[in-house]
Symmetry: C2
């Protein structure tokens, strides 16, 4: 007997029994992360990091297509620099990690490990922006950031995480506002077209805005269990930072002006969104466009003559166009099926002696487990179509879950009842007052405003909380 | 008159007058970096970062081709973890930046911002290596590291820098030793074939080894002024870290064994090597394979009918195969010539009305300024050849400089005379005693052993310093 046959793929907790434990099981057993002795930090293992590399490649191409350039700013922010914009420092100082010693010496000024880099970009913008001809500046940075967290979970909330942060400067308010929305749309279409994740987008309330921003826009995908995950944010700053950092340029009319600023970020949390949107009780399910392995070839009865040779031939045929792996190890076929399901490989190709006689093979969707017999003639096109189908199935399933779990509340009782008995989003009218947000959060034990969508339904004339005239329809929900 | 015509490209200091100032001028005026208010840290601007992206892409493909996988480890190393390997902590502790506060709270254990990640990898290896079947582990990480520096220079020595660090674990000593040399060869061929930089390679002396390594191998390119820059290092660790971190695996004979380890790194210093190996008094010269712009098209007499249209047509023809830019701005032709020379663009394409009549254009090498008239029929192939020629010219010129500046010393007097009056490398015999290294360094004000090359010349029987029997021929030199 083959030596590994005894080893079965380990079981994971069922989603319905304990969603949090299911998540922990998946990230460990799909070998995405390892825990580290460094409090709050995670180790991203090869399979997890390959997902991040595919995310980076896709997003980076989208940014560059729109004219953005990558740069690299320092890891450290001197305390005095962080303090230049008052709202910003108030928001971030409580979660800064502080470097106070360099080598053997106490530093004269302590350095914050960057939680975000607006202040560093502003210091640089001040040097490189003189004239309207220097605008716009469309910069992006791929880097690590640190926000000191008390309780942490892999990908969702860690003291250190990886992200991209875009920082742009513009001649006019209108152009900066357009950039803010343009980048939100990049995130929306990235989530939909690359990650197969539908999401609500909209504007954050005053209370939920980024520290220092005039407006924060957000993309809010819903996880399988109805909980929100903030998937990415895009901020319009006006010229508040420009004033605080004294960044000016000579305008077309030869007067000195302040430029208008944006920033936008998306992080390794998006991997958490993939796991919790698409996964099932058999493990991870990866959207084909970012899956490190898009297709695994599993030979059936591989000891039979010609099976492994044919499987290797198919691997070579497909490798130019897809990320493909052939598993010809001596593990049992059943073990392999379970293993690659756990790892979320979107498509499985089975090939055995009978298939070879028929010049065909079997493609199996990770989502539906539907089996399709396809001819080996023109196999790459069949695989292409099957991967597209997996993508569509994932998107459609997530959309149905989101729509099924999106509720409407027309009264406070209704709101509290939904919050207590359903897991999902609640649409409800709001007067615009932060006190009502606070009250709803307190009374529900954590339901917060997710966003004011671009198209608001008119559910009633009054705020669901206080009964005063409503200003907006807000989408509410619990969050990771 | 065009409004920018008055603005001429700023002059830079001549290399021969003041090499250090020339370097500073080039990194600023070619817009590679900006200085930051954060002590010891630099800002890498879009043009500089694009070079790093091309370096990453090239190296990453070489690593993956050999089976290495990328991972991500934490930014922080708890002090107790750093201390597990005694030589290692002794080498790095003096240059650590220490995080002592998280938010408002003093940490119970201070955290070092990683200067290198052996300790973190070892902690993880302990979790994921159980059996010989788990070996080899071939990991690599792209990240930032911090080493607290007193005096800093962009790319050459900064408190924070970007690099890749490979970390591998092997079943046998032989395999680990092979990996160490294999990765040194990857660096050597990357420098030669991608950066057009020839270099000596060899083994470091005991004194110059990496903290905790059994052997350190190095690649030592010579800068234009004869000074060495350590271009990359590859370390063999034996199983010292494995023992310190209690990493064991069950061998094929069913006994518990310690795995054998390597690490190897190459950083943004390589950009400093490019600048100082290839640059000239007109600015930067970039090797074509990593140049963000490989070819700039400059229309001559661009107001004449059809010139700009034709130039744009050529840009489109070339864009699929090369990184190409058309400068159709209203700056003067002379300004454009100087500007792209400063930025080190390897090839210039000039196109004017007369060229168009002849169905030709002119290609100008940034290295030799040689002009070649080429037909517009099959232009891409002509550009390909011209870029290859620039690469070869750069390599050849650097090789001649290196060989011309490599001296031999057969006595202490000869050694001291060369060290005082020539700038370059000195080949000389050595007894193997660190005291002689120390003495040569003191007497010359900084000439140190670069490496023991794989093939040693036999210059004499005795150490150039103490006269005792020689063990090795060493290449000596001053360093950045």
């Amino acid at each position: 007997m083959a030596k590994n046959n005894a080893k079965m793929v380990e079981q994971i907790t069922s989603m319905d029994v304990d969603f949090a434990q299911w998540y922990t099981d998946v990230v460990k057993k799909a070998e995405l992360v390892d825990y580290s002795g460094v409090k709050g930090c995670m180790i991203i293992r090869p399979y997890g990091y390959a997902i991040w590399e595919n995310i980076q490649k896709d997003l980076d191409a989208r940014f560059k297509e729109l004219g953005h350039e990558n740069v690299y700013m320092p890891l450290f922010i001197p305390e005095s620099l962080l303090q230049k914009e008052k709202d910003h420092v108030a928001g971030f100082a409580p979660e800064c990690a502080w470097v106070t010693m360099g080598g053997e010496n106490q530093l004269t000024e302590r350095l914050c490990v960057r939680p975000t880099s607006e202040t560093l970009f502003c210091e640089h913008f001040r040097n490189v922006i003189q004239s309207y001809r220097d605008l716009p500046k469309l910069y992006n940075q791929w880097c690590n950031v640190v926000r000191w967290e008390k309780t942490t979970r892999p990908f969702l909330r860690t003291s250190e995480f990886l992200w991209q942060e875009g920082h742009t400067m513009h001649e006019t308010e209108e152009e900066a506002r357009q950039e803010t929305l343009r980048m939100l749309e990049v995130y929306r279409s990235f989530y939909a077209d690359t990650l197969a994740i539908p999401a609500y987008t909209g504007r954050k309330t005053e209370k939920e805005k980024f520290a220092g921003a005039e407006e924060t826009y957000t993309i809010e995908p819903m996880m399988h269990n109805g909980v929100a995950l903030q998937g990415g944010t895009s901020h319009y700053f006006g010229n508040g930072f420009a004033k605080a950092f004294d960044i000016t340029f000579t305008g077309r009319d030869n007067t000195q002006r302040y430029p208008y600023q944006t920033s936008w970020g998306l992080s390794t949390r998006s991997i958490g969104a993939i796991i919790m949107t698409h996964g099932d009780d058999n493990g991870l399910i990866l959207p084909p466009r970012i899956a490190p392995i898009q297709l695994v070839i599993i030979p059936v009865a591989q000891h039979k003559e010609g099976v492994l040779e044919k499987a290797e031939e198919l691997r070579r045929v497909l490798a130019g166009r897809f990320r493909v792996r052939l598993d010809d190890s001596d593990n049992s076929t059943g073990w392999k099926f379970s293993q690659y399901e756990m790892k979320g490989v979107p498509l499985r190709l089975e090939l055995g002696p009978r298939d070879m006689e028929n010049n065909s093979c079997v493609l199996v969707s990770r989502v539906t487990r539907e089996k399709t017999v396809v001819s080996l003639d023109n196999l790459p096109d069949a695989v292409e179509q099957a991967l597209q189908k997996v993508h569509d199935e994932l998107y459609q399933r997530a959309l149905e879950n989101r729509d099924r779990r999106t509720y409407e509340a027309r009264s406070l009782d209704e709101f509290l009842d939904l919050a207590a008995n359903q897991s999902g989003y609640i649409k409800a009218m709001w007067c615009g007052d932060a006190a009502c947000e606070e009250q709803l959060k307190d009374q529900t034990g954590g339901v917060k405003s997710r966003c004011i969508p671009f198209v608001e339904d008119h559910l009633s004339d009054v705020c669901v909380c206080c009964g005063k005239p409503a200003k907006h329809m807000v989408i509410w929900g619990r969050q990771y």
